[in-house]
Symmetry: C2
Subunit: 225 residues, 2 copies
Amino acid sequence: MKRICVVEDEVLVREELSSMLENNGYNVSVIDKFDDVSSDILKHEPDLVLLDINLPNLSGFQICRDLKNKSSVPVVILTSRDDLKDELNALELGADEFMTKPYRKERLLLRISNVLKRYEGRSNLLEGPGFLLDRLTYTLYIDGTSVILPKNQGKILEVLLQNRGEEVSRQEISDKVWGTSEFIDENALQVNLTRLKKTMASLNMPCTVQAVRGVGYKIVETEEK
Amino acid sequence: MKRICVVEDEVLVREELSSMLENNGYNVSVIDKFDDVSSDILKHEPDLVLLDINLPNLSGFQICRDLKNKSSVPVVILTSRDDLKDELNALELGADEFMTKPYRKERLLLRISNVLKRYEGRSNLLEGPGFLLDRLTYTLYIDGTSVILPKNQGKILEVLLQNRGEEVSRQEISDKVWGTSEFIDENALQVNLTRLKKTMASLNMPCTVQAVRGVGYKIVETEEK
DNA sequence: AGAAACCTTACATCAGGTGTAAGTTCAAAT
DNA sequence: ATTTGAACTTACACCTGATGTAAGGTTTCT
């Protein structure tokens, strides 16, 4: 059963939404404290977030941005203002749907089920600069094609992506690839890194793995025409 | 550059749409004969179809259904009536967006670019009953996880999916897997079919490969709780 | 019962991913 | 400029998993 997290400060509307969703076969969790919203939401591990824009402390837009940065959960935005600017804003932030209140029950339900359908099987896709990586199979999607990375190269790319832009130490990579218990051959890692770089280059990916002397490695975007 | 196919019978609106899209970096092709619309559309190999619902001969709904049956091209529906029924109908048919006229330029453009983004890298996904198959890597998406099929099993599943529901002869499968020129060992095919069935069963897929005595094989859905 | 279509299992082979080894290049610091 | 350790490269041997082969078993129709 799919879990939907409802983020709405008006208690009445919240309960109406909850019961409607529950009646239609969803598992609902609600947010009623509004300080660290985006983390709270993710703790529930929802399959979809139904988000009101007009909230007390934080702006709904900010929450949406946070959610999309920290995860790839789909977000449906609900608002009482019918404002084009809001809508453009929301969709640019990566929101998946935008609906104005008063909402028609059927319309909302259909859009929710549509968004969920759209995300089917996409839950394990990690987003990188200009490509997607399936965390389970290490299938790499780029430029309308797809390739399967060898397991080790996939794992390295995965750990680098999870720290997008940040340096990752050899140790961390090693742990990811072979597990923390195994003996680590510095060189084995080196060889696999070289292989990953070669693969990425041959795919014309818009980023590379860059060594940071004495520290580790990081992903950097390579801009080119 | 992405190609958009505009399907709209009113010449004025059509030209307005076309020039707007072209000004925003799309390659536009228009439909102006309305007899065998869905085939005509697909001949242009569009990345997206912008479809008016109120057309002379055929209903826009029917076209949408045809398009979705024959391909996986995204469809954005445009209509002058703001009718909930229409919208529900359209979305159930698999339309990707639904917009009412008069449309706001920015809103339409944003939705189009959103839909295109959403389809990025998905162009090679074949849809089966309850799962998706990547035609290039034979990565299989089911139940929120993914698995890589061995090449031969993938190819067999692919050719079966392309003829969803229909029987496919051994010969056709063989051609797909080994190419028409190769010598065909009946048994090799048999073994690979068995392997595919085993794989599918172990994944709890909601369908199986069924032999049709003297003819070939087909995919059938297995209904179960 | 018998034959033809279809299926199963086990095994040998082969390709591609992997770690190892041995060496080369690079870049910062003296 | 020389040195030194970090970062990289290449070649090779090994191992895993996908594949084809072979031999035999089951089903289904007459």
